[in-house]
Symmetry: C2
Subunit: 344 residues, 2 copies
DNA sequence: TTGTAGGCGTTATCAG
DNA sequence: CTGATAACGCCTACAA
């Protein structure tokens, strides 16, 4: 019962070649014929078979998205940006998470082979050079927030877009210092995670500039999760003297930390100031509103798609800059003492 | 440079038919030959071309997911469940959001034609019967949380899985009543949204059972968003007398409302109790921790996939129940006065 | 147990 | 401007 191009051709009294020419408008067709074909195709509700088409075209009109996980608003916003961008350009989005496992990551990539025209990959703990080896064929790839820039020039590392992690952390730390805090602590991300490392670096640099030593005791890991932040905050509470400000390397940990503080009867921001990173949507709605480093996650995803599709179309001839860094901005809200009138 | 089945056949000294038989193990092949072919295929890193294969198989090994939006933890959790389930069964996930627009919804559905073996569709404000008309061919469809059950029997409405919205709302309302509240308010979801309507229904039923009149003034719309909840809470604050408990039809609104209360100097739960619905992961981490109606969003997505794939395999012969309702559970936390030791 | 050959629905290359 | 016809890479009767 499937309607093929042959049916359209027959009913329109032409050959399949002509129908194909009309539908892709490749090649010249008399206007009259063209209309007739269009009309028949519409009447028959003809839709080209994507499999057959991509068998010969070698194009799928789909971008693959590989993320470490799909948990929380962080990934949610990135996907959202990618979805918007792909949809707008008539592309589709094949999503897969690698559940923070190295093996699954590889198999997720491999499984995308032949199903996508290009890949948007977020893998903060994978070496981008190593990735080049895994990725099938010569598929265009854009990485999101990986360890780039480092000794570039080699064509081995794929394109990438990242946010200004170090700069943002630096700015937020300075903000905290400007508020008079002298005993800062940081809830750090997972070891091996590039974004986490950069954020820590920015924090330390700002401390050093202020003439403060970065005491490792005040740097406690939180694994980028709410639960980790909760635990980390409890560890911080056990310290003497306690820090007067806690900078979490992402919002999830910051929110977890605030919960732990509340449970312990420690008031935010009066007893301890809290700040996060990413500025996920919920940040401005928690109590008190969470100060954070704003990152346009949606734009991050959307830009990645833009660049990817340009590479797909351009056939590899890339005159663009290979690496791009998105700016960040400190957003001060109630959690670090800003007047709590909603923030934002 | 593409390696095809022919290359494998030649190098193994057999015909393509035999190679195909080995790779899909369909049909008998001598064990010795089988191993040789496997070995050659591995050495050549041969991967079957998905387009060619699905051209003849009429299978894509992909499920399509159409959601109204991708914003927030609600959808995030559902997608996560779907991802887990699909990945586990060797399937892929093609995601698309319809941005709450009716036209985009249709085109999103249409665009999936030929790219997927089945569809998981969430469209709380679409009539499921109407959907049956839109969906291409005889693609298996599982709906998530739509207006089902209603005058069933007709084969026109697709399979569906929903959560016990009315029951959950009823239970939460009873919980609030049991805590002594007599002046309740509800922040309702978007008009026309099925889940929202059901939750409102459950709330009203519980009030009626308690002999309380459901005053429409105390039912204010919040559009399922944080901003809407914020606004709604402000409206509630303007009322005299004020409600002593606010039940939001989802967690996003509840969190927005808590922000508005804080900004207005109204304490939660001392001055007003707050409860939400869905129990998104962040709920237990906000301050105070949010009481909510627990829904296993991940399981919702995962079950949908399970059922869908069974339908795909079964070729349409469905002896299963067509509609399924997932249970809910009240989770009491600090926001409605429960002892605030973390909750859950 | 294995090979031959036809066809899946398109696009693309030639002739006319 | 239009029409045959050969790929594209794979699966699957049917035959051997």
């Amino acid at each position: 019962v499937r309607i093929t191009i042959k049916d359209v051709a027959r009913q329109a009294g032409v050959s399949v070649a002509t129908v194909s020419r009309v539908l892709n408008d490749s090649g010249p067709v008399r206007e009259e014929t063209r209309e007739r074909i269009r009309e028949v195709a519409a009447r028959l509700r003809y839709t080209p078979d994507v499999a057959a088409r991509s068998l010969i075209t070698r194009r799928t009109h789909t971008v693959g998205v590989v993320l470490p996980d799909l948990y929380g608003e962080f990934f949610s916003e990135v996907i959202r940006g990618i979805d918007r961008a792909t949809q707008q350009r008539g592309y589709h989005m094949l999503v897969s998470s690698s559940h923070a496992d190295a093996g699954e990551f590889e198999s997720a990539l491999r499984a995308m082979r032949g199903r996508v025209d290009g890949l948007v990959v977020m893998a903060p703990d994978i070496d981008p050079a190593a990735l080049a080896a895994i990725v099938p064929d010569a598929l265009p790839v854009v990485m999101l927030g990986c360890a780039v820039g480092a000794r570039d020039g080699g064509d081995a590392t794929p394109d990438s877009i990242t946010v200004d992690n170090a700069g943002g952390a630096h700015a937020m730390t300075r903000h905290l210092l400007a508020h008079g805090h002298r005993r800062l602590a940081m809830l750090t991300g997972p070891a091996g995670n590039h974004d986490a490392a950069e954020r820590l670096r920015g924090y330390r640099a700002a401390l050093a500039e202020a003439g403060l030593a970065a005491d490792p005791v005040y740097e406690v890991p939180g694994g980028f999760t709410e639960a980790g932040g909760e635990e980390g905050a409890r560890a911080l509470l056990a310290l003497a003297p306690r820090p007067t400000a806690v900078f979490a390397a992402n919002d999830a940990m910051a929110i977890g930390a605030m919960g732990a503080f509340r449970a312990a009867g420690v008031r935010v921001p009066d007893d301890v100031a809290v700040a996060g990173f990413d500025d996920i949507p919920i940040a401005r709605y928690v109590t008190p509103a969470l100060s954070s480093v704003r990152v346009d996650l949606g734009a991050l995803g959307a830009r990645a798609v833009g660049r990817l599709l340009r590479a797909v179309a351009g056939g590899g001839g890339a005159a663009e800059p290979r690496h791009e860094t998105l700016p960040t901005a400190v957003v001060a809200r109630g959690s670090c003492g800003e007047h709590a009138d909603g923030g934002a």
